[in-house]
Subunit: 181 residues, 2 copies
């Protein structure tokens, strides 16, 4: 699917910042007329988002305190890849940590870039089933509450805009439209 | 919908970097046990994404060279808000610049955050109809080709993962599920 071979190589790269969750590089990019310009890119290790569906059909949603946007958001559970980690393993781990549920089955749904104009973050979406409760294991900075909603309740929250996290909207609607097939 | 009043105020903010398309701040965030930690946040002015539908029902998609991810992506046209700009005005402008189509009607669809774990970017999604061709006006660093696809062709590309831009997936599937009502 990639057409990287057809693209010019990225010329100069300058690391300008290293943070806890991401870094920033400055790159020299080519213009259409053969000149160059500089643009910054957020470098991110990639992440997973997990749609957990209980045996009774209810979806395990979270209310997640997000300091970056100053709101508590309705989301699906999610988390960042460790170096060289298989995304399915990240999904299983984050599901337990953020929701307190362990899954007997985790299926890949799709993948997408969250903000490819400025950031290389790739999101791997999964569906988790065969859930059993084992207890939440939050990190110190996380403030997350679990809520169980029916599929129609979730769709109503997407439609109304009350669910306003892009990865959560994309994952819920992808599953609604296509399932895991 | 916001519950900002119920959240503790963001304590210290340190601007650590100013780029062309975004900046980065370091914030001291509160932990659940009453301590503090520092986290970086990408500060973005917000953006629009536009689903343009021609009178013949075909959708105006773009193939967009994205240096941040090293790929040319299938996307809906999109762009960044100017300071204090009405998102509907941004949508009308970016539609012309990136696709060469002017719209007689632009309707708000929904809004969402693209990556709220690290970035405050809010995306405003619109549907554009009553299209007439006026000619593309690309910026020097943009490499964008327009492609006209039927609704079923677009849905097939979402399902297969060939469309892998999150805002494009969320916007297309939101419109497919709910329309503009």
């Amino acid at each position: 699917m990639s057409d990287q071979a057809a693209l010019p190589p990225d010329p100069a790269v300058e690391k300008i910042f290293q943070g806890v969750k991401f870094s920033v590089e400055r790159r020299r990019v080519l213009t259409r007329d053969g000149g160059t310009a500089t643009r910054e890119v957020v470098i991110h290790p990639g992440a997973v988002v997990v749609l957990p569906i209980r045996d009774d059909g209810r979806i395990v949603m979270i209310r997640n305190r997000r300091f970056a946007v100053g709101e508590t958001l309705w989301e699906l559970c999610a988390g960042t890849l460790e170096p060289d980690e298989d995304p399915a393993k990240t999904a299983a781990r984050e599901l337990v940590e953020e929701t307190g549920y362990r899954a007997s089955q985790i299926e890949a749904l799709t993948t997408f870039y969250t903000s490819p104009g400025i950031c290389d973050e790739r999101m791997h979406a999964f569906v988790a089933t065969g859930l059993s409760e084992v207890g939440q294991q939050l990190e110190a900075t996380e403030q997350i509450e679990v809520e169980l909603l029916t599929r129609s309740e979730v769709m109503a929250l997407v439609r109304s805009g009350e669910i306003r996290d892009g990865k959560t909207i994309a994952t819920l609607l992808y599953y609604e439209a296509f399932g895991t097939s």
